[in-house]
Amino acid sequence: MIEQNLSLLLVVIPLIAAPVTAMLPAGRSPWLFTLAITWICFALAIWQLTIVIDGSTISYELGGWAPPWGIEYHIDALNALVTLIVSGIAAITLPYALLTVERDIPLRETSLFYAVFLLCLVGLLGIAQTGDVFNLFVFLEISSLSSYVLIAMGKQRRALTAAYQYLIMGSIGATFLLIGIGLVYAETGTLNMQDLHQRLQPILDHRTVHTGFVFIVVGIALKLALFPLHLWLPNAYKYSPSAISVFLSATATKVAVYIMLRMVFTVFSTSILMITHTEFIFLTLGAFGVVVASTAAIFHYDLKRILAYSSIAQISYMVMGMGFASKLGITATVVHVFNHALMKGALFMAAGAIVYRLGSSKFENIYGIGRQMPWTFAAIFISGLSLIGIPGTAGFISKWYFMLAALEQQAWLFALVILLGSLLSVVYMWKIFEALFFHRPACSAPPVTEAPLSLLVPMWVLVLANIYFGINTELTVGVADTAVRLLGVTAYHE
């Protein structure tokens, strides 16, 4: 019973839980309930992955309507991996959220906060599970709307403007996506992804299809903060409550990358990239994104903001990977989606722990804090190394694949950009290390102690995952291989 409805339950359980949470009395009970729900989702996601990891697929028909008329949940290895990331990060964020949320959110709003959090989870899981493009749009908006709310709950007033800016940009992106879906629907008369793929193949050179494709790509590019549409992201991550920074940075943009993969490779196909020259656009914008965002990160003096800019750079890598449009490139993108969730999650958790103790992430307030908070600092250090791509960490694996993809096509320029990006990340990460550890603390700095255990344990789980998935890549690379095969991407030929 559970197994046959697995793919659905992953969406429905948090959906039912959200209104229940909203009705719970303020206090710790909403947290406890949400915790249980996220862990259940995580367990189901693992289960789901074990079913599809061999390359098989699950198809679930909502309301018993067969596709392409009804909404279908179509699960393959890629969906399952993204679901695993989203639910896993949610499950690990929740223990972390307990104390930080008590600090960030007024007590009477806690039940609403967790309800909105669950809605955001519903949206993200729904995107990952669904096989219907319009359904995907709806889930995208559920997750986006709830993330605007979550960001606006940040303590400083700039959280409001950040959320507002994100809302405007996100809504434009969603509307673009809607236009694109509408145009494609007008041409094909279907919304089911598999069906769309079949029907689009003969008409890939129609102008309406191109227009639809471009609208879809631009719409998603806004959501995933592709350079130069990234301006909403730094403030949104900087001013949101700590737990939300962790959750969104590790999941929201990754899910947007997933949508891009799905749309480009499943709904359309690799050849549309060549027909519309989008691969070149992906590569160029990705390369600019890597260089510009990494450089921008160097010139900021605020931990969370640097991490946010670094996120933009890392997403640009993923877009470059798509631009290579080869087996290796997409493998790199998929692996990096997973690995980046691990490292950014850990980094934002550590940043949140510092904010928890000091109330600020500005360098001038946190100089030398690494000595008082050695575990937090060590977490930043190791996950920072992973971000740079030091061998032995998860980040290295994805960088390795990006480089292989570039070298395979003898795209020397882009290979150099990837290396340059790594070097720039060395610079900004080391700026953080030095500020946190070797810089003399300000005289007025209050004495602080190590972050509480409930913050440290989730943080270190992610840190250790960074090392584990740098040494054992059976899961990540294995799933990515299967996913890429199912996406129909082939190895690069000259």
Partner: protein, 119 residues
């Protein structure tokens, strides 16, 4: 030529509204006007969808005697959902504006920017 232009009048309206809305979003500094622009922008898309679903001589898609041609109901259903999304976005956006007004005392973008910078 004229026929093609007039024949696609629904698209012209859509494009006109879309550009008007988009321009407002980008150009206006007033946060409420931005949201109004966003609304117009979204509405144009709703119109696009509905006009896609139109079938010549078609009636409301309810089975009844004497009618054989119906409008395609699916775009309507889709757009109903999209309208709900639009309403939620508007409500949330306006709620944010209210709170921004409370926090900053203004809803003009440049003034808010100045206040943030002056800190």
């Amino acid at each position: 030529m004229i026929d093609t232009i007039i024949g696609h009048y629904n698209y012209w309206i859509v494009i006109l509204l879309m550009m008007a809305g988009f321009y407002t979003v980008i150009n206006r500094g007033n946060l409420i006007k931005k949201i109004a622009g966003l609304n117009i922008f979204q509405t144009s898309v709703f119109l696009l969808y509905i006009s896609i679903g139109y079938v010549n001589e078609g009636t409301t898609p309810i089975i009844a005697k004497g009618f054989t041609s119906y409008a395609n109901p699916l775009p309507h259903v889709l757009i109903l959902t999209a309208i709900v999304v639009g309403v939620s976005t508007t409500a949330l956006g306006l709620a944010l504006v209210v709170r921004i007004k409370r926090a900053y005392g203004t809803i003009e973008e440049d003034e808010i920017h100045d206040k943030d910078m002056s800190l």
